[in-house]
Symmetry: C2
Subunit: 370 residues, 2 copies
């Protein structure tokens, strides 16, 4: 599979479009593993890293989930643009995109599993599922992990568990996370409170692209912070329960806004629709934020259901690297903003105006004869 | 004529809709006159002011331009709402709206002439014309003035000219002004420079409702500052020439923007259209500013010509007092913002999207096969 085909379609887990993904868009579990007897990637010399790839890549490619892999390449096989596309599709980390020869990536055909070789650890294996399916994501990656473990000796300590380059991963080496869409908690100004409460449970809240990124488009990534003292199933179970509570909070915030500020909601959705279908220049940030509001419009029943998939696809397609594909020259920021708006108007052609009457009671004004 | 009929239609000079009014919306000339032997209104006792009305009102009503007057009332005959409507239609000043018994207003049928009795001076007579027609406005008010002068003795000083309550009006007692729509000078950030240059010519630049008001909707009122040392025709002539220059500046700014930033223009007009046709809450300020951009869209040829009249009517209709008419209870700010958006969506129903292709060259992106 060529990388360009990654552009034409999105991974199913990333743009599912179903009701299930209305608040929890996707779930992800990643494992950090290292091979006994090899220096961690950051300390290893290039020749050692190359040697490790020679050894690990065939093992990984052979494993059940990856047999019909879509992409399996050394990082120097990619252009800068290819790497950015992989980041925008959450297949590799920003850090891994900076790597070259001595690092590699293997992605399976439906893009539900990606394995980074020689990122911070020798192996970073991630499994993705649409909606809140952390347990399934865990099972998929656990199975892959067990298969690989049969063929290579992991660095494992009887008391500490799996050994990792960064001490924050020692133990399970697992990071489970979910991407949540929380526009009502943001609009109702409850989000800071919620983020603080989640922080007290040893869970981390981050933006769209992981550590240190802003929460654009009202998208929040919730993940476990601790990897010691709990077994994987417990962590996944506890995280799932917290996320269920966040879903309830978001649903309550929507209900409250629908009851107390329906016009504000109709106004927000209307403006988002009006701007996205008529603007001729859109920054990435504005576009994501307006798409988020349109997505909420679907959940509120004032935009058509089919729009959720369109919105989710657009959220990926309007990222800088995705925009750059198919254009000959490197685009300036201004040209990207223009192209982003052009794509947006085109993709939203034919989408009807928000059906605000579904949430607005006829106002006393409208009832009057005059 | 009942005041409510003032709401149903706008004065022709206020919403002309013709090409002529694209940059200079309207012209106005007002004269301040006082009657010999009577104290200025601010110093006169109520009984003296009442007596003056008794004397002046019939004289004014009889004059040629006013014979079939539409409104001729003492200010205490109006409700608070009526007065605000008269202000929003530029028929009386804000100061006059605060008056009660002892002050009056006479407005002719086509609302091209309004006469305030006992505002700051005994008589404040104004004549309005659409477009840049200061000379015609001057001639109309000059004729009325001459007629009235035949029947009442004006306070006139051989060397100073007409005497007025405020020394800034002594001499001609004339203030000539025009309302200009200058969106391109604002978008191109030249407006402050232009305002300063105009100030140096002893002309004043003000907002939509005269002294001390903000320039909403890119609307600017330009008027003469001096009333001494020049005859009326010279003042009108000089002001007209300066306004012609401002029109040229605005046209040049539009041409420059069309050449250098056509996408910015298309974006501005598109967003204004998108928001006005989809919002469910609009403040007066936002609505005026967006209508202004839509109006520029008409001038640029990307919105239909018929929209200019609609926009000009909406600029009047969405003012607070106009909104209040026809509703039973006093509206809160929130309710007004809601009603304003409802009216806007309704009135703009069926207006097609901006035809941006008329100003945008096909971008290199669109020309590419991909």
């Amino acid at each position: 599979m060529k990388l360009s085909s990654l552009i034409e379609t999105s991974a199913d887990w990333l743009t599912d479009g179903s009701e299930e993904t209305s608040i929890v868009i996707s779930s992800r579990v990643r494992l950090a593993r290292n091979i006994r007897g090899y220096a961690f990637p950051t300390w290893a010399k290039k020749v050692e890293r190359m040697e490790l790839i020679q050894m690990l890549k065939p093992v990984v490619e052979k494993s059940g989930a990856m047999t019909s892999w879509a992409v399996s390449e050394s990082m120097d096989a990619f252009t800068q643009l290819d790497k950015q596309i992989l980041v925008e599709q959450h297949m590799i980390s920003r850090e891994h995109a900076a790597k070259s020869a001595g690092s590699a990536v293997v992605i399976n055909k439906d893009r539900s599993i990606s394995i980074m070789i020689n990122e911070e650890d020798h192996l970073r294996m991630q499994s993705f599922k649409p909606g809140l399916r952390l347990k399934e994501a865990w099972q998929a990656i656990d199975q892959l992990d067990s298969e690989i473990e049969k063929n290579v000796p992991y660095a494992f300590h009887d008391k500490l568990g799996y050994l990792t380059a960064c001490p924050t991963n020692v133990g399970t080496g697992m990071r489970a996370s979910a991407m949540l869409h929380l526009p009502a908690l943001v609009l109702d100004e409850q989000i800071n409170q919620v983020v603080q409460a989640v922080g007290k449970l040893s869970l981390a809240v981050r933006g769209l692209y992981g550590e240190g990124t802003e929460a654009l488009g009202n998208l929040f990534q919730i993940s476990n912070q601790t990897t010691l003292g709990e077994v994987e199933e417990e962590i996944v179970d506890r995280l799932s329960k917290v996320i269920q509570q966040l879903v309830t909070h978001e649903q309550n915030a929507r209900a409250t806004l629908l009851e107390k500020k329906p016009r504000m909601l109709a106004d927000q959705v209307g403006r988002a629709y009006g701007i996205l279908t008529n603007a001729h220049s859109l920054t990435s940030k504005e576009a994501l934020n307006l798409l988020s509001i349109l997505r909420m419009g679907v959940d509120l029943g004032i935009m058509p259901h089919s729009l959720r998939l369109t919105v989710d696809e657009l959220m990926i397609a309007i990222q800088p690297a995705h925009l750059q594909v198919g254009t000959r020259n490197k685009l300036t920021t201004e040209e990207r903003d223009a192209l982003r708006a052009d794509i947006m108007r085109k993709k939203l052609t034919g989408v009807k105006k928000p059906d605000s009457k579904k949430i607005l009671k006829p106002s006393p004004l409208e009832q009057e004869p005059n």
